[in-house]
């Protein structure tokens, strides 16, 4: 059964092209089209319906201590309102999902995970939580609040000013990777200074019954509705991984270049040993960025060669609307991953010359 966000009717009324994404019927683009939507986010302000992302709320006096055992960072160290990007790993060190955890208030944490992984995440976290409760007689539980809370990303150089105007400046004091409460259109919202575009902005969460009104208010205030197509191009330009494409349970954080999101030297962390082992032994492949040097757009699944030898595979690729040229990311053997290395990509039978380049492809604005 395909799910619909509380903004479904708003998207259809705007003549959005809808697609199935992670079990949700989502707008891939509006009639304004992807290039325009991307440009609005880079130069002005765009809004995205991200209500499909699952929101899990953990509570109980041991909630922080439990999360420390399963997340790649120490959640219990977060101050109230603080958030942190992290990974949910399995017992082989593979990446089940990437997510953001917020410490909302004492003994209450919010975990925002990818829509397509929500069921797998919930099952894994439930299993580990039952073991934790059994082992430590712990007090922790979680609820899935996805249907009760809507979420809109407001992104772009004018996003902070726009939300400030609409909240009587309440959101202006919220700093990057922190969340705070504010009043928008008479409703209480939680505004997190986060995003997936490389631009400054917020992801706001509020009671889902107000979603169409708040969406319209943002549009009337000058924000451009953007679909998943623009979101994917923006995140790729910003060098952000997409779970399912660029990172999966078959990849570990070290080869993915996500060492910074993993704190394995903690005795309470269930997967610290396996991750330290991977870290200390080194990895054979490395997530790398590619710029095309001849015509053609590398896409997911295209194979990468050096001197006729296959060295890796593209995990995401597109035409970059901001750069006006093709970009891609993927895994290649570490011995080929030095910046500036020439590689060849098989684009549907045609050899395209490419070069290993640094990510992000477009610099973050914050």
């Amino acid at each position: 059964m395909i799910r619909k966000t509380p903004l479904y009717d708003s998207h259809v009324a705007s003549n959005a092209t809808m697609v199935d994404f992670g079990g949700w019927e989502m707008p891939v683009r509006y009639p304004t089209r992807i290039l325009h939507e991307v440009a609005q986010v880079r130069e002005d302000v765009g809004i995205f319906d991200v209500s499909h992302m699952a929101r899990l709320i953990f509570s109980g006096v041991d909630a922080g201590r439990f999360l420390d055992t399963v997340l790649s960072v120490r959640a219990s160290r977060l101050t109230h309102g603080q958030g942190r990007y992290h990974l949910i790993c399995n017992d082989k060190g593979g990446i089940i999902d990437d997510a953001i955890v917020y410490n909302l208030e004492k003994d209450r944490y919010l975990l925002v995970v990818n829509a397509g992984n929500a069921e797998v995440d919930k099952q894994w976290l439930s299993e580990k939580m039952d073991e934790f409760i059994e082992r430590e007689d712990g007090d922790v539980g979680f609820i899935d609040s996805t249907d009760d809370i809507a979420m809109i990303a407001v992104q772009g150089p004018k996003a902070v000013a726009l939300l400030g105007e609409l909240t009587n400046d309440e959101t202006n004091s919220i700093v990057r990777f922190h969340a705070g409460e504010a009043t928008l259109d008479g409703e209480r919202i939680l505004a997190a200074r986060t995003g997936y575009t490389g631009e400054d902005g917020f992801e706001i969460m509020f009671d889902s019954s107000h979603a169409p009104e708040i969406w319209s208010l943002l549009v009337d205030a000058g924000a451009t509705p953007c679909g998943l197509g623009a979101r994917d191009a923006l995140r790729l330009e910003a060098g952000f991984m997409l779970h399912g494409n660029d990172i999966t349970a078959e990849h570990n954080p070290y080869e993915a270049g996500l060492r910074w999101a993993v704190k394995p030297n903690r005795s309470e962390y269930l997967f610290g040993d396996v991750l330290r082992h991977i870290r200390d032994n080194g990895t054979t492949r490395k997530m790398s960025g590619f710029a095309m040097r001849s015509r053609g757009i590398a896409r997911q699944g295209h194979r990468i060669y050096a001197d006729g030898e296959e060295i890796g595979i593209v995990t995401s690729g597109t035409h970059s609307p901001t750069l006006g040229s093709p970009i891609a990311m993927g895994y290649i053997g570490v011995e080929h991953s030095e910046l500036g290395t020439d590689v060849q990509i098989d684009v549907r039978g045609k050899t395209v010359e490419a070069e290993v380049v640094a990510m992000p492809f477009h610099p973050h604005s914050y």
């Binding site: 092209t17 891939v28 683009r29 089209r33 992807i34 290039l35 197509g229 994917d232 191009a233 015509r295 053609g296 757009i297 896409r299 597109t318 035409h319 609307p321 093709p326 549907r348």
Partner: protein
Amino acid sequence: MYPDDLKYSDEHEWARRNDGDVVEVGVTHYAQDTLGDVVFVELPEVGSKVDQFDKFGEIESVKAVSDLFSPVSGTVTAVNSDLEQSPELVNSDPYGDGWIMEVKLDDPAELDALMDSEAYQEILE
């Protein structure tokens, strides 16, 4: 959106017979609208042979890549090299500045296998 002087294929290409046995070929409004922003068109070589309903090139948008299928058989006599720098012409003017190639027909009777505007619009419904 679907001019009467064109012939249409069910792969969403059009052919326009100008003078003699040469036709202009492009993609339809429906095709460009479904693809979204076109960012790359792989053009055939002038002088190469194309066959009716066979692949002759590729067209890519930000999100997707599609094959181009020739509505007629013949020899490519010209390609729209403006598309190398300005692929968005396919979106903004699919029947004019966004044309893709010109083909000298092997057999003008092949045009009878294509649809007129009315028949094409029926398959879009």
